[in-house]
């Protein structure tokens, strides 16, 4: 059996004068891959490209061995693809069930009994089985995100592209989401983008860091975290020698720097530390973890 795979070779995408992506080379296999990067880094553009919603301006894309530039093959990809966009507007008057049912129709589930059973299955996966008949416009933001996730999960697709699936979703639901994705990732290629490093740390085996349209890092999460080993320390004051430092919940300061130091109180490095070291974004005060040493 051929393993599912996605490959990108020297892929670029421009919008008028803006270059959203450049020189992207990737090989994706079954498992969960996280896409990290600040706003404007090109995450959504890359995801749209993978989801065949956008063609590349240059380079070559192959999803499951098929070329999205060829219409017949593009349809073939779409038959095996689930995509959760960053924002979905929902038609007025639609209930969660009706909307997912509608997308299921577009995904060629023509038999009503099988289709309804599948709609219920995915609504159940995202924890909305009791709210299928609620109007989407009457739902909270997190519930709407879950509806848009549910339609992506239809058919347990071999390729699942999720743009910020955890945004606005409460912690309980995030745990369920992690379980669902982990299960699917045994045989499917799952790519998700997020701002939260802890989601990547908890869910992804692999991480791709994007910055201004280019890949800054592509590899196992543990390796990236390892890059910060010995480079994270705690102090009572922000250390001027540090690259980044911030105040943690206990009042002490967490510092990260490019050089390994011996004379400091080291802390266990987290993925966020490594990410910041790489130059990505700035620490979120409320997510800063205090590691007791």
């Amino acid at each position: 059996m051929v393993t599912a795979s996605i490959s990108l070779r020297d892929v670029g995408r421009t919008f008028g004068a803006t270059r959203a992506l450049a020189g992207v080379d990737l090989d994706l296999k079954p498992g969960v891959t996280g896409l990290l990067g600040p706003n404007g880094a090109g995450k959504t553009t890359l995801l749209r490209l993978l989801a065949t919603a956008l063609p590349p301006s240059q380079g070559q894309v192959r999803v499951l061995g098929l070329d999205p530039e060829v219409p017949a093959e593009r349809t073939g990809i779409r038959r095996q693809l689930g995509y959760q966009p960053q924002e979905v507007g929902f038609p007025r008057g639609f209930t969660a069930f009706a909307f997912v049912d509608y997308i299921a129709l577009l995904k060629e589930w023509s038999q009503p009994a099988a289709r309804h059973a599948e709609v219920r299955r995915v609504l159940d996966l995202v924890g909305l089985s009791d709210l299928g008949s609620k109007r989407i416009r009457a739902m909270s933001g997190g519930q709407r995100r879950r509806v848009s996730l549910a339609q992506a999960l239809l058919g347990s697709p071999p390729v699942l592209i999720l743009d910020e699936p955890t945004t606005g979703v409460d912690p309980e639901q995030r745990v369920t989401l992690r379980t669902v994705l982990a299960e699917l990732a045994r045989t499917s290629i799952v790519v998700l983008s997020t701002h939260q490093t802890e989601d990547v740390a908890a869910l992804c085996e692999r991480v791709i860091v994007l910055d201004r349209g280019r890949v800054r890092y592509d590899g196992p999460v543990t390796d990236l975290t390892g890059q910060a080993a010995g480079r994270v320390w705690l102090a009572d004051e922000p250390d001027p020698a540090a690259k980044v430092s911030w105040r943690t919940g206990t009042g002490r300061y967490r510092n990260i720097g490019t050089r390994v130091r011996d004379d400091v109180e080291h802390a266990e490095p987290s993925l966020e530390d490594a990410y910041l070291l790489l130059g990505g974004g700035s620490p979120e005060p409320e997510t800063a973890e205090e590691v007791a040493s």
Binding site: T95, S129, D130, L131, G132, S133, K134, R135
Partner: protein, 178 residues
Amino acid sequence: MDSRPGDEMLLLAVAERDMGAFRTLYERHAGWLAIRLARRCNDRDLVADAIQDTFVAVWQKPRGFRGDGDIAAWLWGIAIRRLVSRIRTRSSVAAVFEHAGVAPAAEDQVLLSVEYGDVGQALARLSPEMRAVIQAVVLDGLSAKEAAHLLHVPVSSVKTRLYRAKAHLRAALAEGPS
């Protein structure tokens, strides 16, 4: 303190389109409603359809319950009328007042008079047709027209039997215990 949600809470949740609450309501009430309906109609399919119609009606208008009286009484009112509707649309049906023909045995007669006194005895002495009408109109609260549909008799028969039944009862009660 009962930790299970009360029926009124469930209805509020159903108004918010909560399928779980709706299911709980079904599990709580479909059983006794079906049994009570089956005592008026021996066609199981009709009873099943009536139960379905009842709960669909509850879903569509959960705020129809005004909080006056028991929810159970409100549900029964919906259920019996749905049964009548279903019976009307099935012309070839033999919907029967199940135990109209059961006349109590001698021992039970004694039991009746002990437990239910004069009224119970008087009721027992009525003909099955008259008992059926009393149950439909007096106990179930149906109109003469609805009772006519339920029992498959003309409205005039319903009114006549009701009149006679009441006359019998009055006479029997006036007589006193035998």
